[in-house]
């Protein structure tokens, strides 16, 4: 671990006064106008809001995929803004799990290799945990298949498995059920919630669905660039 990478104890996410704006067609558009948000270890939080409200932007800033204009993001005891590009990459690799709507699996790797990919490059591969994930996600039959040979629901299970295999402090999911039908979405989310509880990490999920949001511990709504 390098300097500033958070440890596994204490509040996992603490966002204070976060601002971000984009320049579109020569005009400055403020997307986040001072967001405050906290996620505790073992807590699952649904982040809702209308299209374009900045949910994905907030998630990307927390993941260190983009840099904020102002405010602070603390993951455990480290400030994301103070990390270099390489350290942010290390943070994502070692301490964060990311799940996207488009699954974003590595198409050239088998399900088995996809599942173990992040945990192995982070050097945090735990065979027993990996085996448990395979069992709980029901992926045993598909280990030798490639992502494109799987259904959407199966692909999203692999994505969740990959994100949790590294035993992250925080699981960030951006509309993880957006491409799935209602039954599959319920099933996948139930699995994710279950595994999050089992691993004890924090869980922040962006969703449009009030029904799914209601199944998590807490809901926060992003409106006009601030948490309402």
């Amino acid at each position: 671990m390098t300097k500033g990478i958070p440890s596994a104890t204490g509040p996992v996410l603490h966002v204070t006064g976060l601002t971000k704006s984009y320049r579109t067609a020569g005009e400055e558009v403020a997307v986040l106008r001072g967001v405050n948000l906290t996620v505790a270890a073992g807590e699952s939080v649904a982040l809702t809001g209308e299209s374009g409200s900045g949910k994905s932007t907030l998630l990307h800033l927390i993941a260190g995929l983009d840099a904020a204009d102002g405010g602070e993001i603390r993951l455990a005891d480290a400030s994301v803004a103070e990390l270099s590009d390489a350290e942010r990459a290390e943070l994502r690799r070692d301490r964060l799990g990311l799940v996207f709507q488009q699954f974003n699996l590595v198409p050239s790797l088998t399900v088995e290799d996809n599942l173990a990919f992040q945990s192995r490059i982070a050097g945090r591969h735990d065979a027993a945990w990996h085996h448990e994930l395979v069992e709980r996600l029901g992926l045993g039959r598909f280990l030798k298949r490639y992502p494109e040979q799987l259904s959407g629901g199966q692909q999203q299970r692999v994505a969740i498995g990959r994100a949790l295999a590294v035993k992250p402090l925080l699981l960030l999911a951006d509309e993880p059920t957006g491409n799935l039908d209602e039954d599959t979405a319920d099933e996948v989310l139930a699995l994710a919630r279950d595994l999050v509880k089992r691993s004890g990490c924090g869980f922040l999920m962006v969703t449009h669905s009030a029904r799914l949001a209601a199944t998590l511990d807490r809901q926060v709504n992003l409106h006009a660039g601030v948490i309402a």
Binding site: S51, S56, H60, A63, L65, D66, A67, D85, A86, A89, E90, L91, R92, R93, D94, L98, F100, Q101, Q102, N104, L105, V106, P107, S108, L109, D113, A116, F117, Q118, R120, I121, A122, Y146, E148, Q149, R162, D174, E175, G178
Partner: protein
């Protein structure tokens, strides 16, 4: 980007193809000009059944019998120590249809036929002689030749005089070489009833000797042009493929809005044809400049290898422009065929179809490998059953096609092995992703393979030739000084003077006669009986005491090309037409005679002068102690007014021969470089077009913690790895190509077989060049990836993208 790559591909393809075609067209026009020189292979003629000439009275008898024949005498004369082809004609009976006959006209007839007559020459010959029109150069005996008159339609190196003057100059009174046959106006009796068995009919031949000889050279150029053309089309194919993929949603929307598939396709074809037309025009202009740049070397090659005279400036026919544009349009349509078919069959409501790339790729690789095996079988078939130059090139073409088609399977196997043995997760991804990228890169890698194999093959052939040629040259140029007198009288004076010089250890007189054997030109070389030849002259095969057997004048050494052409072996006999009748010679040895377009035999010098008494005896070699060479040359020049063209030492002759040799292959080197360059561009365009579609593959890795810099380094390593594996595959293929060139194509084209050598340093150099090309081609996409803004990568994860 797609537009740029499409244009680059079309321009490269058209430029190299049309450049090569311009060179071929230029050369063929020159051959036609040579062939049409009244009495070339394009005219039917009567020649002696035995010997090189026949009595003039046969002409008179045939004319009286109604045969529309015209007499001609051919021989060689020396002017200022240089040899020229002399043609004696009879302008009154010369048939009008014999081609570019001189335009003498009624007014000029008298001055041409009555003493001193006129000597018609091409403008190039006049400038070679450094004389003005009307000047009278000196002939072999020192007597003035007829005044020179320029005729623009004549071939360089040919002198045309009245037949009576030619008979005097060639010391062949009342003798003729052949009778040209014009268009018959009525019936005439059979040849045998008038001339008995003294003459035989030689039918007009559509292909000239020069065309036959130079076929291989032009095939070689065409093969290079074709290779570059296909490599260019690879670029076009990948550009069109990507443009189509990117336009798919628009096309689908247009179809949904009621535009018919036919209309859509018509518009796409129209767009493509317009682009091909524009690119074709630019390509043609580039092709013209490429041809212009290469022409001096091509002309030097053809002169050095075949004695063919090609003017040094380009004159292009309108057909060349039309053909160039047509090939650009047809090439573009061929490269776009798959995409256009897809557009025609585009399902209206199809959504993104899951594409099981692994299985689809495996199935495709299997089909492709099966076709490759068929190509290899075809190559083996051509090798086994073929016996011509075309079949030699067919072996090469089938071999290279097979290798190109099997390359993706070879890469797939190597990459699968890499993946199987990889342990680290990034290592596994490295191999797996390289495999997945293969379908997008395989065309460019095939282009690289072909360009490299041709480079290795041709370079190995040239190096093998060079090494053999230099050793051979040492043996052939064993005298220290070579002298060429202006005429026989001067040659006598020089010999007498040399005999008085103590530093001259030996005078080796040389002589050369031209005749025909089995319908093809033959040089008869006279070698004096001297240890210089016995010790140095390189023989490939010989009977015991071959040199001693030459002495009586009934034996000959034959050149390798003649031995191969007539299937001669030691102990066989040949009948050589000589001035006094046929000369029967036993074959006692076979020698290499690299670079000579004509077949050649070597006989005893004294025997040659007996059989061909009319030949000039102006050449000689001298054995001199090396330190005394410069002084002797200066003394010779001063005493006899000889210049550098008439006296040369061994070192200068060797240097000149080596210079001609190197120039001969400079065209090949330039085309090699062009082909490799185009392959590099193909790789670059493929990587650039792939770069956009690869973002969704790379962004997840970046998201889970692999830095952009590391991703860029891995991407670079991936490209260089597949390029390296391709290079490793190309090296043995290139050596196989070299073997085919040396053992099949050269033997058929030139009649000689060269030993096969492998040059490890050269292979290492080419591997380095290939890797540099791969790194250069990957540099731009890799730098773009390393510097890519996170927003571009995040767009991949945007739900509303």
């Amino acid at each position: 980007m797609q537009l740029a790559t499409l244009l680059i591909g079309l321009i490269s393809a058209t430029a190299l193809w049309s450049g090569v075609q311009a060179l071929n067209q230029q050369a063929r026009t020159s051959y036609d000009r040579a062939a049409a020189t009244f009495g070339g292979a394009r005219t039917a003629m009567l020649v002696a059944r035995t010997g090189v000439s026949f009595p003039q009275e046969l002409f008179v008898e045939l004319r009286r019998a109604g045969w529309p024949v015209s007499p001609m005498l051919e021989g060689r004369i020396q002017i200022e120590g240089r040899s020229f082809r002399l043609l004696g004609i009879e302008p009154v009976t010369l048939p009008a249809e014999v081609g570019s006959a001189p335009t003498i006209g009624k007014a000029g007839l008298q001055s041409f036929m009555t003493p001193p007559g006129e000597m018609l020459v091409a403008p190039e010959t006049l400038s070679d002689l450094k004389l003005a029109e009307g000047a009278r150069p000196q002939g072999d005996g020192g007597a003035p030749l007829p005044p020179l008159r320029v005729q623009t339609n004549l071939v360089p190196g040919v002198l045309v005089v009245d037949i009576g003057i030619a008979q005097n100059l060639l010391k062949m009174p009342d003798q003729l070489s052949r009778l040209l046959i014009g268009k018959a106006t009525g019936r005439h009796p059979p040849l045998e009833s008038v001339a008995g068995d003294k003459l035989r009919l030689v039918e007009a031949d559509a292909e000239t000797d020069l065309e036959r000889l130079t076929d291989s050279f032009h095939l070689n150029l065409t093969a290079f042009g074709l290779l570059s053309f296909f490599v260019g089309l690879f670029i076009v194919n990948s550009a069109i493929g990507l443009a189509f993929e990117q336009r798919l949603p628009t096309l689908r929307t247009l179809r949904a809005c009621g535009v018919s598939a036919r209309m859509l396709n018509a518009v796409l074809v129209l767009e493509l044809v317009s682009l091909a037309l524009a690119a074709g025009l630019i390509g043609l202009v580039c092709g013209y400049f490429i041809a212009g740049a290469l022409l001096p070397d091509v002309a030097a090659s053809l002169r050095g290898l075949y004695g063919a005279q090609i003017p040094g400036h380009l004159t292009l026919k309108p057909q060349w422009w039309v053909a160039g544009l047509a090939i650009s349009i047809l090439g573009a349509l061929a490269a776009a065929a798959v995409s256009l078919t897809k557009a025609l069959r585009l399902p209206l409501l199809a959504t993104a179809q899951p594409f099981a790339w692994q299985q689809a790729q495996r199935r495709w690789l299997t089909y492709q490998s099966a076709v490759a095996l068929v190509a290899f079988a075809a190559a083996a078939g051509f090798l086994w059953f073929g016996d011509s130059l075309i079949s030699g090139f067919a072996v090469l073409a089938a071999l290279m096609l097979g290798a190109a088609l099997i390359l993706p399977m070879f890469l797939e196997i190597v990459l699968s092995l890499g993946q199987r043995y990889a342990r680290a997760p990034l290592g596994i991804w490295f191999w797996a992703d390289s495999r997945q990228q293969l379908s997008g890169l395989s065309l460019a890698l095939m282009a690289l393979l072909l360009a490299l194999a041709v480079n290795v093959g041709v370079s190995t052939m040239v190096e093998s030739f060079s090494r053999t040629f230099l050793v051979w040259l040492d043996g052939r140029l064993s005298a220290e000084v070579y002298v060429s007198a202006a005429n026989d009288a001067q040659a006598h004076e020089i010999k007498a003077w040399l005999r008085e010089r103590p530093e001259v250890e030996a005078i080796l007189p040389g002589g050369r006669a031209d005749t025909q054997l089995a319908g093809a030109p033959l040089e008869v070389l006279g070698l004096p009986d001297h240890a210089t030849y016995r010790d140095n002259w390189p023989l490939l095969q010989s009977t015991e005491n071959a040199w001693v057997k030459l002495r009586p004048g009934d034996a000959a050494l034959v050149s390798e090309q003649l031995a191969r052409r007539l299937h001669l072996s030691l102990g066989d006999r040949i009948e050589v037409p000589a001035s006094g009748g046929n000369w029967t010679l036993n074959v006692v040895g076979i020698y290499a005679d690299y670079g000579n377009p004509k077949s050649q035999i070597a006989v005893n010098f004294a025997a040659l002068t007996r059989r061909f008494p009319e030949i000039p005896l102006t050449r000689m070699g001298l054995r001199v102690a090396p330190p005394k060479i410069p002084a002797l040359i200066s003394a010779l020049q001063e005493k006899f007014g000889l210049d550098d063209r008439n006296v040369a030492d061994q070192a200068r002759m060797k240097a000149e021969s080596t210079r001609i040799f190197n120039r001969t292959f400079s065209v090949t080197a330039a085309l090699n470089a062009f082909t490799l360059g185009v392959a590099g561009v193909a790789l670059l365009t493929s990587l650039l077009t792939l770069a956009n579609s690869r973002l969704p593959h790379l962004a997840p890795l970046w998201a889970i913690g692999v830095t952009r810099r590391r991703l860029a380094a891995i991407e670079l390593l991936k490209t260089t790895s597949v390029a390296f594996i391709t290079t490793i595959f190309a090296l043995p293929l290139g050596l196989l190509v070299a073997w085919c060139l040396l053992a099949i194509v050269n033997v058929k084209a030139f009649g000689w077989r060269l030993p096969f050598h492998v040059f490890p340093l050269q292979l290492l150099w080419l591997t380095g060049v290939a890797m540099a090309a791969a790194v250069a081609a990957s540099a731009l996409p890799v730098i773009r990836l390393a510097r890519m803004q996170p927003t571009s990568l995040m767009r991949i994860f945007a739900n509303e993208r």
